[in-house]
Symmetry: C2
DNA sequence: TCCTGTGAAGCAATTCACAGCT
DNA sequence: AGCTGTGAATTGCTTCACAGGA
């Protein structure tokens, strides 16, 4: 069966939600309550889950802890992932401080830059290497995911370096489409902050002024 | 006609792409080239544009500058927007430094926090206020968009403050669903960094290990 | 009664295929 | 020949509606 991408996106939100519920000691939850917490509908919640199995009890709802475990397994989120951040500027540094990553199993093992002032020092305890060492460090530290946080001008220079490395997935904050010339499949997800603001502007205009 | 949300999302990417092309002095572009630059298909590009009018010349393609202007107008991106950042931690600070925003017309006018060490000082030239002053500053500075960059624990405290203010749109970096109890429509867009990593993990697993 | 799980229906988005312009 | 613009076909996603278990 083909699982909708939108379902995967929501699954990640369900995991987040279930974690919060577990922390607060909530034991049971229905698809109705879940939907309220995640801006969707109960039917959607049930349908999303149904792609992967039957996790609920009729008339009762879902067991928070059990469902969380199942979803984490589906998303492969239970195991640890080693991450590198390319670009030790303000965004890269902010991301390296982000506690949320480590809490859920994403461990930033290395940062990369070209500024000699930054190289061979540590930022928040994370070693900063020259970008030339990327492939080498990726191998040594078993890094599977790279976060790209470099300015637009620098993207060209790092595309080839990434393509040649063994990295499997990229979270890209640079506002350009990465052009990875490689036979391997590399998963790329874009986070374009400016795009989000554009969309907000459009939605404001169309919700407010008509 | 009802315009697909996915179309709006792509429109923002087209704008970004056209800006780059314009800077590089490119005058003409076909839907085929556009598609290559934006990870989509030529048909999709043409269909997206067709919701808003006819911008191309048969057999020739699109005029980069003219198309850019049209799309900017559609997205209301040509006019200026005043923005506030709530949370002067590392993420908020990184966002305040982000040059991309100002370049495209989003002007960060104020930041908010509760830490007395930060209040009444400036970060990157932007004044930091106590969150209590939020409504007041929003009015005075004509702020329409708020960027939420506070830790999860702090979200509860700011939800009501935002709901009461005149803000029209929110870009939310906190990994929780905002619960804005207000009659007004406020546009909320979430950027959940952890969610993105979850999705990458899933996609890696499903592209690589089967 | 309350809530899950799921085929079927309905709706939305994408892709196809081609007419038509230059 | 080359490329746009767009109805029609197709694919994909969501919502409906209800059977069935506790």
């Amino acid at each position: 069966m083909n699982i909708p991408f939108a379902t995967i996106e929501r699954l990640a939100i369900y995991v987040r939600c279930l974690r919060h519920l577990k922390e607060r000691g909530v034991k049971k939850i229905s698809s109705y309550e879940m939907a309220e917490h995640t801006r969707t509908t109960p039917e959607q919640v049930r349908k999303d889950l149904s792609y992967f199995g039957k996790f609920g009890k009729t008339g009762e709802g879902y067991d928070v802890e059990a469902l969380l475990k199942k979803l984490e397994k589906i998303l492969k989120t239970k195991r640890k992932w080693n991450v590198a951040i390319i670009g030790a500027g303000s965004l890269g540094t902010a991301l390296s401080k982000y506690k949320g990553f480590k809490e859920v199993g994403y461990d930033v093992k290395a940062m990369f830059d070209i500024d000699p002032e930054k190289i061979n020092k540590k930022i928040n305890g994370i070693p900063v290497y020259h970008i030339e060492k990327f492939g080498e460090v990726v191998d040594k530290e078993n890094i599977e995911i790279a976060i790209v946080a470099v300015p637009t001008e620098a993207v060209q220079d790092i595309e080839e370096i990434i393509a040649k490395s063994k990295v499997k997935g990229i979270l890209n904050f640079a506002p350009v489409t990465l052009n990875l010339k490689t036979r391997r499949k590399i998963v790329v997800l874009d986070v374009d902050l400016t795009q989000k603001l554009y969309i907000i502007s459009y939605l404001i205009k169309n919700k407010w002024e008509e």
